[in-house]
């Protein structure tokens, strides 16, 4: 799946920044329908900015963002609402509503956007919680949960209205390896069973190898994409030094101590 065959997200010549400083410059890439796509990059490389641009929280300076063929940048009013319904987002810290129980958090989008009977909403919310393995925790408050459980619950809430795309911001950040691996399995299982397209921002290399069909890697200096393809191929065959360093966990400073292979 190295080629773009059936893009559900298409980003073209996207340029954006803050206060006169460009963060991404003329970035172009696509995400195929049904694939697990990861956005990687060092700190400050613009991963989160790119995510915020795609989900419409920031406006780009120029360029196009097509979601299922419709332009996200110019969409307004009802058109924008329809576009927003096509994806769900799991934010870095979960962003669960602290005053609601887990069940209420997941039920909230159903209450706002559907006319389902209350019992039906409860059942559907419970089924979503069951999909992420939290069926027995519906009556707990977010503050009573561990970080991993909060992220699972946030995924369940993001799936409440059955979106086509799920954006997961820093899926593994701050979690132990076991919880992180559990979340990877959850993503794989959801992708297989529900045919959801996943766009994941992560630093966790083991996650990337396990779940990502394709990745792009952003770079702070060039403000663009320095690598695109399957993670294993990039690790073994990339000509870019930064990409190889990233995949082999080698810091730039190692060369100072003569341990690095000399490439820079």
């Amino acid at each position: 799946m190295n080629q773009i065959q059936d893009p559900i997200i298409w980003v073209e010549n996207l340029t954006a920044g803050y206060g006169g400083t460009l963060v991404v410059d003329k970035v172009t890439f696509g995400v195929n329908r049904g694939e697990v796509f990861a956005i990687l990059g060092g700190s400050g490389s613009g991963k989160s900015t790119l995510l915020k641009l795609i989900i419409g929280l920031h406006k780009p300076l120029s360029g196009r963002i097509l979601i299922d063929g419709q332009d996200m940048v110019s969409a307004e009013g009802q058109e924008r609402l329809v576009l927003l319904r096509k994806f769900g987002v799991m934010y870095q810290r979960g962003a669960l509503f602290g005053s609601m129980t887990l069940l209420e958090n997941v039920r909230f989008p159903l209450e706002e956007f559907t006319d389902l009977p209350t019992q039906a909403m409860d059942l559907i919310a419970m089924m979503k919680l069951s999909l992420v393995g939290l069926k027995d925790f519906g009556d707990l408050m977010p503050a009573e949960l561990s970080g991993g459980m909060q992220k699972r619950a946030a995924i369940a809430r993001a799936m409440a209205l059955d979106p086509q795309i799920l954006f997961l911001d820093e899926l593994s950040a701050g979690l132990d390896p076991i919880t992180s691996a559990d979340l990877d399995q959850l993503v794989l299982s959801l992708a297989q069973n529900l045919n959801i397209t996943f766009v994941i921002i992560t630093h966790e290399l083991s996650s990337i190898y396990t779940i990502a069909d394709r990745i792009i890697m952003l770079d702070k200096q060039s403000r663009g994409i320095i690598a695109e393809g399957r993670p294993q191929e990039l690790r073994d065959h990339s000509e870019n030094t930064f990409v190889r360093r990233f995949f082999n966990r080698r810091g730039a400073s190692e060369s100072v101590f003569g341990e690095f292979d000399g490439e820079s």
């Binding site: 602290g98 005053s99 009977p117 409860d122 059955d162 529900l194």
Partner: protein, 385 residues
């Protein structure tokens, strides 16, 4: 092939469904079209009504006409089956496309037996009273403990003034004290003016307008000056302290201080309490002066001279009244700043936590001020002040 996650467009053609009694006790339900979050609500309600009406032992769902089904649709089919099984009947789904059947099979009905069980546990009236009483006692305990700790820290700071972070204290004194001058001035002036005006009208009938000076002087210096200043301080600075410390608590800045070996009470509370204790009597003095000035406007408008107003007031108000009022204001300032900081440090997790702390700081501050004022009145009476 239809996709599970097709777009739920609001204007997409909805579904239709028909029910018929196939034979006695057997209800047929035929669904055609889309079964998504927009259309399922209506079908769910209608099916429920029909099942309630006919109470069938067996329901046969003809799902061959379903061309699209999302999580809500799967929830509907699952809920229908669950409902039938719970009532001792059964449900058969015919012709459901394999991919939708696969989704339906993800959920095990036996795991959803207690769907209704997850409701907040209700507690009895007696238990509620007990819990509330315990909470009040705990709050009172925490308040007394904290005020004691803050008081001890304050004494410690005054004994070792070099340990105090005076820069921070002066900054707080500026925001809590100097910046409060306009509002204290406005409220004090209007209070003196209104009080004098309201008193002057009935007193005039007895030719006793000049005693308005006594009334304004005594009440401003002894009661209203300190009280009004403390209430404004509770609203302005008590809330601000609670919000500031609450946000620091949520951002784990307080934890960072503790792990650095710094005492949050020494580091954050002492500066604020010290600033409040210094600024409150000064603000009170300002409020007293402005209030008296407000009262003088009324008497001047009635033809009395400023000197007769002043002489009349001085004949009634002595230094002990002034000092008594100022001492009260020191205690009020200590309480307002203390409870503001306490509520800030007690902030819990959640979006509404800082708001709750702020509210509790202001309400608690005002209640404490009023209670303390009552105690002062009794003590001053017996001391002859």
């Amino acid at each position: 092939m239809p996709k599970y996650n097709s777009l739920n467009m609001p204007d997409t053609p909805s579904s239709s469904f028909h029910t018929n009694m196939i034979s006695p006790g057997v209800l047929g339900v035929k669904i055609i079209g889309r079964l998504d979050s927009m259309s399922t609500g209506n079908i769910w309600r209608e099916t429920k009504l029909e099942i309630d009406r006919t109470s069938p032992k067996r329901v046969i769902v003809d799902a061959s006409g379903i061309e699209y089904c999302d999580g809500s649709g799967i929830g509907y089919l699952f809920g229908l089956r669950h409902r039938q099984q719970k009532g001792g009947g059964d449900l058969e789904i015919r012709g459901l496309q394999a991919e939708f059947q696969q989704l339906l099979d993800l959920f095990d009905p036996s795991e959803f037996e207690e769907i209704q069980a997850i409701k907040p546990k209700s507690i009895g009236f007696a238990e509620k009273i007990g819990r509330t009483t315990c909470q009040i006692c705990e709050h009172a305990y925490a308040l007394i403990e904290f005020l004691g700790e803050a008081g001890a820290a304050l004494v410690q700071a005054l004994l070792n003034p070099r340990q105090v972070r005076w820069k921070d204290a002066f900054l707080v004194a500026e925001t809590a004290g100097v910046n409060a001058l306009p509002v204290i001035g406005l409220v004090g002036f209007l209070m003196g003016l209104i009080m004098a005006f309201q008193a002057a009208i009935p007193m005039r009938q007895f030719g006793a307008e000049i005693y308005v000076a006594n009334l304004v002087g005594l009440s401003m210096v002894r009661e209203l000056g300190p009280l009004m200043t403390a209430v404004v301080l509770a609203g302005r600075s008590g809330s601000s302290f609670a919000a500031e410390l609450g946000t620091m608590k949520i951002n784990e800045e307080i934890d960072a201080l503790i792990t650095m070996g710094l005492d949050p009470v020494q580091f954050l509370v002492v500066t604020r309490v010290l600033a409040a204790v210094i600024m409150t009597p000064l603000l009170t003095l300002f409020a007293d002066l402005i209030g008296v000035m407000g009262g003088s406007i009324v008497l001047l408008s009635m033809g009395y001279s400023l000197s007769s107003y002043f002489n009349q007031m001085v004949s009634m108000v002595d230094y002990m009244d002034l000092l008594g009022g100022l001492f009260k204001s020191i205690v009020f300032g200590f309480m307002v700043a203390g409870i503001g900081c306490l509520r800030g440090l007690q902030t819990e997790i959640g979006a509404s936590a800082v708001g709750d702390s702020t509210t509790r700081a202001v309400v608690g501050g005002i209640v404490l001020i009023v209670v303390a004022d009552g105690i002062f009145s009794v003590v001053y009476y017996y001391l002859g002040i």
